[in-house]
Symmetry: C2
Subunit: 329 residues, 2 copies
C-alpha cells in the first residue's frame, strides 16, 4: 500500500524501457520522474491518451509485440485524426504476476518497432503491480502548427464524407478471433486477423488533410458511431451509402458468404481508418491526394441539415440495424 517500487521494477525499467528513451535528452533515461521537452516555435502541444485492458481491449494470449504496437497505434490514430505530429510518449503499465521477462522483451521489441516506424520515443511513465488484468495506458505528446488542427466539429452542410482504406476488416478479424466466422480461405483469414491485431494509424494522411478536410475522426468506435460523433459535434445529419463503403478483398469474400455481416462492417470498431469531411468543390484535391497513396480514399456519403445518420442500401432504402453497438446512436 505504498508507492514503494520493488528492486525488480527498477531493473525492469533499466532493462526493457530505458533503452527506448535514449534518443531524447529530456527523458533523462527515465532516471527522473519527469521529462522535459521542447516544442517547435509557432506550434502547440498536442496530447492524447488511451487505456487498453486485457480481456476488454485485447486478448491475454495476443502476442506481446502486437499489444505494444496496438497501444501505440490507437494513440497515433488520435493524432492522425487531428493532423498532428507525434514526438514522445509516456507509458503506464500495471503488471500482473503472470507477466515474465519473455513477455516484457517481446513487448518492448514491439514498442521499439513502433518507435522506429512512427518516429516517437518513450520519455516517462510508471510501472506498477496489479492483482488484476494487465492494464496499459499510453499518453502521446506531440505538436501541430497553431490553428492547423482538424476537429470533429468542422463539417459543413453538403460536405462530402470520405473514408481511408477499407472498412470492417477489424470487426471481421475480431469475429474470426472469437471463432464466430468460418469458411474463409487462409489468406483472407490471415489478412483480417492482421488488420484486427495490427491497425495502421493514418498519420501522414491526417497531416496531408489539414487545410483540406474540414473535420476528421479516426474510426475506433465503428463507422456509424464515429460518423454520428461528427454529426453531433458539427450539428448536422449524414447520409451514408452502404454500397459505397470500401471493403477489402477478404471483407468482400466474407460478405459474399453472409450478407448479414454488413452490420458488423458498418458498426464494428477498431479499423483506425480516417473518416473526414471535404467541401464538394475540393473533391478533385482528394482524388489527387489519393493517387499518391497506396490505399484508397473513398467517398461514402454527404452531410446535410438535421441530425442522425441515415444508412442507404443499393435500392435507396434505409437500412436499420438492431445491434447494441448501433442502437446507442
Amino acid at each position: 500500500m505504498t508507492g514503494k517500487l520493488k528492486t525488480g521494477e527498477f531493473e525492469r525499467i533499466a532493462r526493457f524501457f530505458a533503452p527506448l528513451s535514449k534518443p531524447v535528452s529530456g527523458a533523462f533515461s527515465l532516471s527522473d520522474d519527469t521529462a522535459v521537452l521542447d516544442l517547435t516555435v509557432g506550434h502547440q502541444l498536442v496530447a492524447a491518451s488511451d487505456t487498453l485492458v486485457e480481456g476488454v481491449h485485447f486478448f491475454g494470449d495476443d502476442p506481446a509485440r502486437d499489444i505494444a504496437l496496438k497501444l501505440l497505434a490507437v494513440n497515433l490514430s488520435d493524432f492522425a485524426a487531428m493532423g498532428a505530429h507525434p514526438k514522445t510518449y509516456l507509458l503506464n503499465i500495471a503488471l500482473p504476476d503472470s507477466i515474465d521477462d519473455t513477455w516484457l522483451e517481446a513487448f518492448s521489441a514491439g514498442l521499439a518497432q513502433g518507435q522506429e516506424q512512427y518516429r516517437v520515443t518513450l520519455v516517462g511513465g510508471d510501472s506498477v503491480s496489479t492483482p488484476g488484468p494487465l492494464t496499459l495506458s499510453l499518453t502521446l505528446l506531440g505538436e501541430i502548427g497553431k490553428g492547423r488542427e482538424l476537429r470533429r466539429n468542422g463539417a459543413g452542410e453538403g460536405d462530402l464524407i470520405y473514408v481511408s482504406g477499407t472498412i470492417g476488416d477489424a470487426a471481421l478479424g475480431l469475429k474470426l478471433r472469437q471463432g464466430e466466422l468460418e469458411g474463409l480461405v487462409d489468406e483472407d483469414r490471415d489478412y483480417l486477423l492482421e488488420r484486427y491485431r495490427r491497425p495502421t494509424p493514418r498519420l501522414a494522411l491526417g497531416q496531408d488533410l489539414t487545410g483540406l478536410a474540414r473535420a476528421a475522426i479516426d474510426i475506433s468506435d465503428g463507422l456509424v458511431a464515429d460518423l454520428m460523433h461528427m454529426c453531433r459535434q458539427s450539428g448536422l445529419a449524414a447520409e451514408l451509402a452502404a454500397p459505397a463503403v470500401p471493403l477489402s478483398f477478404a471483407g468482400r469474400a466474407a460478405l459474399d458468404r453472409d450478407p448479414a455481416l454488413i452490420e458488423a462492417v458498418l458498426t464494428g470498431g477498431d479499423d483506425y481508418e480516417l473518416l473526414f469531411a471535404v467541401p464538394e468543390d475540393r473533391a478533385d484535391e482528394i482524388s489527387a491526394l489519393a493517387s499518391k497513396l497506396d490505399f484508397a480514399l473513398t467517398r461514402i456519403g454527404h452531410f446535410r441539415a438535421g441530425e442522425g445518420v441515415r444508412i442507404i442500401d443499393a435500392m435507396g432504402d434505409e437500412i436499420e440495424f438492431s445491434s447494441p453497438g448501433y442502437r446507442h446512436f
Copy 2:
C-alpha cells in the same frame, strides 16, 4: 474486445469529467480525443505520469475524494521535485462494475478541489471498464523555464542534505490504517492518517528551490531509498543523521512508545516531502526561505565521495535495518 464505448461512458464523461475541463479551450470539453495546448515562450514542456491501483496503492474503501486528491498529489509532487509549473492533466481510469455514480461524484469533487488548489485543469484521457481493480493513471503536463529544472543528479561533494516538513508520518498513518499501530491519542491518530491519505505536494517550495538547490527528489519510495536514488544519480555517498530527521508531534509520540518505529519512519514511503541538496555556502538562503514557510526545512546530513547511504545514530554509530524496503538499497 473493441474500443467501443458504451453510451454510459459518454454520459459519464459528460457528467463527471467534462465540467473539469471547461476553463481550457484546447480541451474541447473532452469532445475530441486529443487536446491542444500552448506553452509560455522560453519554456519547456514538463510531463510526469503515475498509476495507482486499488489494493496496491490505496484501499478500495478510502474516500473517493481522497483517492482523487492523492492521484493529483503524487504527480504534482514529481513536478515539485523538479521546480516545474503544472498546468493541465490527462486522466485514464479503468473502472470495475462496483464503481457507481456516488463514487464518481465524490471522485470528481476531489479532482475539482485539487484543480482549484493547484491551478490545473483536466484536458483529456480515457475511461474504460475493467474486470479487475480500480486503476487510475494521471499524466500531468506543465512547463519550466529552459534549463531551470532541478534533477536528481546535481548534488556535489559536501552539499548539505535538507528535507521539508516532517518525515515518516505517512508510513505511520499506513500502519494505523492497517491496524498495526496502537495506543495513540485520537488527535495524533487523525493527524497521521490524514498525512497518509492526503499528501501535500511541495510545489511552491520546489519552484523556490530552482537556482538554489543543486538536486532534488520527492520522498515517495522512502527517505533512505530516495536519498539512495540521488546518491546513485549524482555519483556520491550520503551520511544521514537519524536524530536530525524532523518528526511531527504525532510521529514523536509514536516513536516514544516504540523506538523501533524509526525504521518505518526512515524507510517508509508516501511522505511526498522534498529532499534536496544545497551547497554549504548557501545554507543561509535556505534559512531565509524557511522563515517564510509554514513548515520546516531541516538539515539532516551531507554528501561525500563514495557510494551508499550511511545512517548514523545519536552516538555516531551506524544503524542497519533489516526490512525488505531497506535491503534493496
